[in-house]
């Protein structure tokens, strides 16, 4: 087995708000190995971004706090690192593509400037070289007239262009781990394909691990080696990409796969999982999916299911597969 790069161990990240405590991440554990691409899917709002942000230690304090658990990155527990140690890791060892490309770019600097900054910092290049590299990165992510775009401000770019700038920024420093939070949502499929190719290239060349958060199951299928399925702040299923797509176990995962429309396949109405995500404030001890689950049992309403090894790497948190219950 390959070396582990990141290990989440029972991470809890809460937000303390006026209305109550939002348990955005509520006991998440999983591993990312070196050179592995881990796809993370799940309900919108289930805590995928917050998990990633916890790893980067970029949760908006003081409301948001990692209250429990550890996140190991190469033997270091990032939850315990000092700010300056964390600084060295960020951008250099781990880089992140944020979900919101518009607000994540500083409106008063040109995009070139923002890309160059990281390059100059981590690769110790001079300004001219960094600029060349920035132009090259912009070209790599498929933006035309890269020489002009380096000097453009974020608000002058289209949504997809901004997103690609974020990608260029994250890829420019050959990180050990790339966190890509919905990296291609604003891109058309040809460019998406190009970006995905680029990410694969980089991964192959430098043995980078990728934490790929996305809703596009197609992208997951294409990119990921391993898939984590999250629901309401918890991991409910994990397994290799083949396991998940060919043999989904959790009813949520099944519903998810069923919801996806496919080109050239006609249907009147798309399938969608019935019901609502539970309120993350004040959740009871239960399987959080029980209200929406077609196979819900009594136990699901009173106990929280644990992630269990079903077969091999494929694990699921569902009483349906719980020996005792069966």
């Amino acid at each position: 087995m390959r070396e582990t790069l990141v290990e989440f161990n029972d991470v809890h990240t809460y937000f303390y708000t006026e209305a109550g405590t939002v348990k955005a991440v509520n006991g998440v554990s999983y591993k990312i190995n070196k050179g592995q691409t881990v796809g993370i899917v799940g309900e919108s709002g289930c805590g995928k971004s917050v998990t990633a942000m916890s790893l980067m230690r970029l949760i908006a304090e003081p409301q948001g706090q990692i209250v429990k658990g550890s996140i190991k990155f190469e033997d270091k527990d990032v939850t315990k690192l000092s700010d300056s140690e964390m600084m060295k890791i960020r951008g250099n060892d781990i880089s992140m593509i944020f979900q919101e490309p518009m607000t994540s770019l500083n409106p008063v600097f040109t995009v070139g400037n923002q890309i160059m900054e990281a390059i100059m910092l981590h690769q110790k290049l001079d300004k001219k070289k960094a600029r060349e590299k920035a132009i090259e990165m912009i070209k790599l992510v498929g933006i035309p007239r890269s020489e002009a775009i380096v000097d453009a401000y974020p608000h002058e770019l289209s949504g997809g262009m901004r997103q690609r700038i974020m990608i260029a920024m994250a890829l420019s420093c050959n990180p050990k781990l790339l966190i890509a939070d919905e990296p291609t949502t604003a891109l058309d499929v040809t460019i998406q394909a190009q970006i995905l190719d680029l990410m694969r290239d980089i991964k192959e060349k430098t043995n980078t691990s990728i934490m790929l958060i996305t809703h596009d199951l197609g992208v997951v299928a294409e990119m990921a080696d391993y898939v984590i399925v999250m629901y309401a702040g918890k991991v409910i299923e994990e397994g290799s990409v083949f396991d998940i797509f060919k043999d989904p176990l959790h009813p949520y995962t099944k519903g998810l796969l069923k919801s996806k429309p496919v080109v050239n396949q006609e249907m009147d109405r798309l399938y969608s999982i019935p019901g609502q995500v539970p309120n993350p404030i004040g959740m009871k001890d239960s399987c959080y999916f029980n209200e929406r689950c077609p196979h819900a049992m009594e136990i699901c309403k009173t106990k929280i299911p644990q992630l269990k090894n079903e077969d091999g790497e494929h694990r699921v948190a569902c009483f349906l597969y719980d020996q005792g219950v069966k």
């Binding site: 007239r145 499929v189 040809t190 809703h215 197609g218 990409v241």
Partner: protein, 328 residues
Amino acid sequence: MQEKILSVQDLKKHFPIKGGVIQRTVGHVKAVDGVSFDIYKGETLGIVGESGCGKSTTGRAIIRLFENSGGHVYFKGEDINKLSRKELRALRPKMQMIFQDPYSSLNPRMTVGQIVGEALEDHGIIKDKKELRKKVIKTIEDCGLAAYHIDRYPHEFSGGQRQRIGIARALALDPEFIIADEPVSALDVSIQAQIINLLMDLQKERGLTYLFISHDLSVVEHISTRVGVMYLGSMVELSPSKELYKNPLHPYTKALLSAAPVPDPTAKRDRIILRGDIPSPSNPPPGCKFHTRCPYAMDVCQLEVPEFKDRGEGHFVACHYVDMTIEN
């Protein structure tokens, strides 16, 4: 024939490019460069196309968020650009836009309730405060959010949740026409399905009309009556949805369709890789704008702009190669 709700004629939007310390205009980005199409009542026109090809700009120009550089937009026969501010305001509730970037289009200092309910209150549609709250809750629940979200601020939401706030904001007004700019890109497939179902239900119930901009070809196919393909500020192909997916004519459309990812890790792909430099919208290539990357490019493509012609059954395309193959 169906009622034309919107007619776009030769729409152009050029952004000036500023350069130097004194910010002189050194050129123009031709973000939208002569786009024409009609939308009929009750239909959904899907727009797909390369990122940066001017889809969002087209959408914004249609609802006149900025003054366009040329062409006309008629909404129910009225020239949008000739309306006074007051008339425009009165028209606003009828045509809504779902913005592509959910977060930056939400005022950080307003709660969801305020964001979604504000327009209803301001246009005097709902005057009673309790009723307003009810309506807002109903709308956000339709969009897959929960009632308890109503007093939260945008930054407290995940990307997908924010997108749903934007959708709810547009839907709350019960508009007749909605421009949806990537409305479901940040949503997980289940909620995506829920939203699409909602949009389609509304369409059936109220005869809503959509201009649906998206990169997700399967979603576009599912929801659209007709689909337009844009490339570098122009429309290159426009056709009824099924026809387009079964029988794409333009080489760009073909490349696009071939690149769509399939949710099957074992699936084999036969992708058309587009080569060549991506041209710049400030200095688009002469002739057919696609010729620099087109696998079938011919001499004529560099010289002449292909005509946007009907190939029967409302399948429009602008391509010399198609012209040639069909004639032969």
